[in-house]
């Protein structure tokens, strides 16, 4: 029998590389802060080098214990959390957690927060000197801590002041993670741009609450918590869309991304890159699968460069 000649068409070359301002990523997929530990937790499930970047759990100047349990509960297509930013502190991160990430070809985004502007500044300054940190994401939008967090992110002047301070403390690319818990995010995005940040992370969790009707008690100890998961995706898409049209900064889009179609949806709305959050909890390989899925979408839809899709939602005239 003669062998039949088979010719397979050469795999189409597609470019997934993106730039969030000066932060260059080999693909647009990142992990959202607080959903991926410090990377090590998920390295058992796939090669982290597959991702464009990872954002680590939020870092403060000193270690933080976080909120009392119960801290989480499931809600329709989502979950509420009030972890309260439990973390090892910036110094232990730099010495004990960061070296592990050096072995991967991946961009490391350090998420930071503080109770005061000075604390934000100090954490940023320490990370600035740490080898292997490629960008800083400033969390001014955590709904689960009394001081800091959302208190900064829901006030225009405080937003500007804290971002300006961080900008002055580091030469690394700075992303501002803004709160969706305001009437209009656009003025906050404008303030962030004025403060000189390089990009915007949109969105943090939505403030929510859930009550157990049997016990008549809140289902998490903090009473209120941050809602994440697919339930919030339409809100996130709307905000990314509005901000992209109003402000020139590149956007790291997030909020309920479960699969690559969701990621593409964010890119069409105006995100340059995307972060996978709650999906990591459900499927440890979610972020890696999404990289594959985006590539497949591009091949199938004849998209040579992912950047061609940014903001290309087709709004009927």
């Amino acid at each position: 029998m003669t062998k039949r000649k088979t010719t397979t068409p050469p795999e189409k070359q597609v470019s997934l590389a993106v730039e969030l301002g000066p932060l260059k990523m080999k693909n647009p997929v990142c992990t959202a802060s607080g959903t991926f530990g410090y990377g090590e937790e998920y390295s058992r499930y796939y090669d982290l080098s597959k991702l464009g970047a990872i954002t680590v759990k939020g870092l403060s100047l000193k270690p933080l214990q976080g909120n009392p349990p119960p801290r989480i509960c499931e809600t329709p297509s989502g979950m509420l959390n009030a972890i309260g930013l439990q973390n090892v502190g910036v110094d232990e991160f730099i010495h004990k957690k960061l070296p592990f990430l050096h072995r991967y070809d991946i961009k490391v985004v350090a998420n930071i927060f503080g109770n005061t502007i000075e604390e934000y500044e100090a954490v940023a300054a320490r990370l600035d000197r740490a080898a292997g940190v490629h960008a800083i994401e400033v969390n001014i939008s955590c709904p689960n801590v009394k001081k800091g967090g959302m208190a900064f992110g829901t006030d225009l002047d405080s937003t500007y002041d804290v971002l300006k301070a961080v900008r002055g403390a580091t030469g690394l690319p700075v992303l501002a993670k803004l709160s969706p818990n305001v009437t209009d995010v656009v003025p906050f995005a404008v303030k962030a741009a004025e403060a000189g940040v390089d990009g915007l992370s949109l969105i943090n969790t939505l403030l929510g609450m859930s009550i157990n009707v049997k016990t008549r008690k809140p289902r998490i100890a903090n009473i209120t918590g941050g809602l994440s998961g697919p339930a919030i995706r339409p809100v996130a898409i709307r905000i990314v869309y509005q901000v992209h049209r109003a402000v020139g900064l590149p956007i790291l889009g997030m909020g309920g991304i479960i699969n690559s179609d969701d990621a593409i949806e964010f890119i069409l709305a105006g995100a340059t890159a995307v972060s996978v959050g709650t999906a990591n909890f459900v499927n440890p390989t979610a972020a890696s699968d999404i990289v594959d899925g985006i590539k497949k979408y591009m091949i199938e839809n004849d998209i040579a460069d992912i950047r061609q899709l940014v903001g290309k939602v087709d709004i009927p005239a």
Partner: protein
């Protein structure tokens, strides 16, 4: 991994036996470890459900004993043989039986018996020098589970129900106290407790353990999103011996089994 349901049997009431098969699923499964089960595809319910290992059937099959208590486990109850089940595990740090153990006192409340049968099997298979006794309590007759399996293993059991519908009327701490009163005078060296059940029970058991200086390993449970140590959702307050202060530890990957002496109840 994708496992295949080989049986999902409603034993009685809201209790089920679920057996699943997948290559290697039982290979590293120690007693007290758990699995995260995605009970349905799609996003509602969104999160996996942590279910503790009941017994290892083989390298490629494990069995769970679970109680249908809410939406997730209700859906789980509808699975039939041949169905596919998305599952991660084994996860967590299970029960460790130290070399010095001579008497393993297994203490279970209700569905808390699930991981203890696997522990009994493990000890009887690997440690002929250890005697296993089980103290099993439940609200009522139907909440005393795995009795037949313990009997087949030849484990001496002390049973009780809160309503007196089977065995003695009372709670599991009563039976432990009686046991101790009877046998402790000849020495408790090498005695250790391994418990799983409602928090109130565990706290009561721990009070007895401390009083008699019996080492106590307790398996805790918590709401959990990821099961792999990332979400920080499942923490419990545990004494940090070095620092002398309580810290939050994760049930999923610091536990679920903790040295009960350190648990801040």
């Amino acid at each position: 991994m994708q496992a295949t349901v080989t049986s999902n049997e409603n034993i009685f009431g809201s209790y089920f036996h679920l057996e699943v098969a997948a290559k290697g699923i039982g290979r590293k499964a120690g007693p007290g470890t758990f699995y995260m089960l995605k009970v349905a595809s799609g996003t509602d319910p969104l999160l996996r459900r942590p279910i503790s290992l009941h017994r290892v059937v083989s390298d490629d099959a494990v069995r769970f004993l679970y109680k249908s208590v809410g939406r997730g486990t209700n859906i789980l109850g509808r699975l039939v043989p041949g169905d596919s089940l998305d599952i991660i595990g084994p996860l967590g740090n299970g029960f460790k039986v130290g070399k010095s153990v001579k008497l393993a006192m297994l203490v279970a409340g209700g569905i808390g018996v699930a991981p203890l049968l696997g522990l009994a099997e493990h000890i009887m298979k690997t440690r002929t020098d250890v005697t296993v006794v089980a103290f099993i309590g439940g609200r009522s007759e139907e909440d005393l589970l795995a009795i037949q399996e313990f009997r087949e293993l030849g484990v001496r059991m002390y049973l009780c129900t809160e309503d007196g519908s089977l065995a003695r009327c009372g709670i599991v701490t009563d039976t432990i106290e009686e046991y101790i009163k009877r046998y402790a005078p000849s020495g408790t060296k090498g005695w250790e407790m391994f418990s799983c059940g409602p928090k109130g029970m565990l706290r009561g058991v721990d009070a007895i353990a401390s009083m008699h200086k019996i080492k106590h390993h307790a398996s805790l449970e918590a709401n959990m999103a990821c099961g792999v140590g990332a979400c920080m959702g499942c923490v419990v307050s545990i004494l940090d011996r070095k620092a002398g202060v309580p810290v939050y530890k994760k049930v999923c990957d610091d536990g679920p089994v903790f040295d009960a002496e350190d648990v801040v109840w």
